[in-house]
């Protein structure tokens, strides 16, 4: 009787919490989207911002966000995956491994502004690149690596041990076992981790203020010369992202429609994250099926 009552209360409380969380989420999304909805025009999405007059857009910023995401993932995914494989399968269980693990923990709890300042020192000043996409991508790699390492390590460790045994018993080497048996089976976990990390890249502002910078050249989208400062693909040009732009417009925007621009940019940011998530999940499922024939 008592146990039953407690059970019922617990159920209500937990359901309540869940509903609350969802309500907050829906409320937030609804708020951002309704506020920014009227700005979602082709013109706003594609044209560059205007510093003084009303009517500027966020084209370069949207592109920068996406390009920075790609660059960051190109650098951090192989590193994170490699380190995750090492930690899960190769690292001996000793002091050194334990201290590596501790370092990863510490790294993952660094405030992003600190990562940003570190990036300013190392990737901007010491490399002599100045504010650039590459500096931003490296700072975000520092920021994301702990998460990626941990998630890929866990994902690989969570593959049942019997899979590894089966492969070894067939005379398959350890490395090939990792690549052909363990990694495909660990894929869903790794994809989830990559999506989480990507979300952080999209939304991050503090680590980028002093690395990728707070301005963007007016990009010429048909300029494919990687050296040209106005080429969208040049990784060594400054690149203000959407999140940074929102922050900047909100704090020091001079145009009469600054508020509007921030709202619109926020809506675009949210939509981009949402679309990216769905896309990545779909791709992950497709890849998992392709590699394992397992439908989930």
């Amino acid at each position: 009787m008592r146990a039953k009552t407690i059970d019922r209360i617990a159920t209500y409380v937990l359901t309540g919490i869940a509903v609350l969380i969802i309500a907050v989420l829906v409320g937030l999304l609804g708020f951002i989207l309704t506020n920014g909805w009227h700005k979602l025009t082709f013109d706003f999405i594609t044209s560059p911002p205007d510093l003084l007059k009303a009517g500027g857009g966020v084209g370069p910023q949207l592109f920068n966000s996406l390009y920075l995401l790609v660059l960051t993932m190109l650098i951090s995914l192989p590193l994170g995956l490699g380190a995750g494989i090492y930690m899960a399968e190769y690292a001996p269980n000793n002091r050194i491994t334990q201290s590596i693990r501790l370092c990863i923990e510490v790294l993952s709890s660094l405030p992003s502004i600190v990562v940003g300042l570190f990036g300013l020192l190392v990737f901007v000043t010491m490399t002599g690149w100045g504010y650039s996409l590459m500096s931003g991508a490296l700072a975000l790699t520092v920021f994301n690596l702990p998460l990626l390492v941990r998630i890929s390590e866990d994902a690989i460790r969570n593959v049942p041990k019997s899979q590894k045994e089966a492969s070894f018993a067939l005379g398959i080497s350890k490395w090939r076992t990792v690549v052909t048996v363990l990694l495909p089976a660990a894929l869903p976990g790794i994809v989830t981790g990559a999506i989480l990390a990507s979300g952080r890249v999209f939304g991050e502002a503090a680590a980028l203020l002093f690395t990728a910078g707070m301005s963007s050249p007016d990009l010429i989208f048909h300029d494919f010369n990687l050296d040209s400062p106005t080429s969208p693909l040049n990784p060594f040009r400054p690149a203000e992202t959407l999140a940074v732009h929102i922050w900047k417009v909100n704090t020091e925007g001079l145009t009469p429609d600054a508020r509007d621009v921030a709202d619109g940019a926020a809506a675009i940011l949210v939509l981009a994250v949402l679309l990216f998530n769905l896309g990545a999940r779909w791709f992950g499922t497709w890849l998992f099926k392709k590699m394992t024939s397992v439908t989930r």
Partner: protein, 259 residues
């Protein structure tokens, strides 16, 4: 040379004073045993007596356990497999293994079987197709799965999965098949199918099977070895061991007095 003196006649596995310990704990102590080519040998004994440990030392799967120490000699086809310069991948091609719990890869039925032959150098699609079909046929699974080779192996029933694991081991064309309680997690009908399969495979392979089920041992094996607390108590023709065991402990075990 030594290998020529070796009685190539019929012995394929010969262990001498084989001991295996996990850290301080001895799991197998000083077991000497000979197993003949193309026979079925059953290992019986209460759980924890070292049957799996002994079996796993025959394809050096114990190498995976850091605390595990193997001493003594194991000759397979006249070659000492505990030598440090033995090619372990080659050994495991020669000595296939099927585990207690079916452990198909998270892959298609086809890939489950093709994975290892491809790794060991067979690239041609036609050749792989042939290996997949032949292995599945030998494992009496072909008719049940031939129309869905591209589907996930995890969608098969438990019994089918276990036969797939047998097919996967056969695909390597081993001489020896080690089976560690392959039917203990299966229903009676699947168990029967696996038993029939083992009897058929005997012509081509030397089979060593660990089983909890004494009736199963009596039905399918030519020889039976009784293990107790890490020691080999008795090994003999199955018909003799079950009817007139030489040792008191064996008799107690097969008459159900303990275990």
């Amino acid at each position: 040379m030594n290998t020529l003196d070796f009685d190539q006649g019929n012995t394929i596995i010969r262990t001498k004073d084989l001991s295996v310990a996990y850290g301080e704990k001895t799991a197998v102590s000083k077991i000497s045993m000979e197993i003949e080519r193309n026979t079925v040998t059953a290992f019986i004994g209460p759980s924890g007596c070292g049957k799996s440990t002994f079996l796993r030392s025959l394809n050096r799967m114990n190498d995976l356990i850091p605390s595990c120490r193997v001493t003594g000699s194991i000759e397979i086809d006249g070659i000492e497999i505990n030598d440090s310069n033995v090619n372990i991948e080659g050994l495991r091609q020669l000595v296939g293994m099927v585990f207690q719990r079916a452990n198909p890869f998270f892959k298609s039925i086809y890939e489950n079987i093709a994975l290892a032959p491809r790794y060991h150098g067979i690239r041609s699609k036609a050749e792989l197709d042939e290996i997949v079909e032949q292995s599945l046929r030998k494992a009496a699974l072909w008719d049940e799965v031939k129309d869905r080779l591209k589907e996930s192996a995890l969608a098969l029933s438990g019994g089918q999965q276990q036969r797939l694991c047998i097919a996967r081991a056969i695909a390597m064309q081993p001489s020896i098949l080690l089976l560690d309680e392959p039917a203990s997690a299966l229903d009676p009908i699947s168990t029967m199918k696996v038993e029939e399969l083992i009897s058929e495979l005997k012509d081509e392979y030397t089979i060593v099977i660990v089983t909890h089920n004494l009736h199963q041992a009596a039905r399918i094996s030519d020889k039976t070895a009784f293990f107790l607390m890490g020691e080999l108590i008795e090994m003999n023709e199955t018909s003799i061991l079950f009817t007139s065991p030489a040792q008191k402990q064996t008799e107690d075990y097969i008459t159900g007095k303990f275990g």
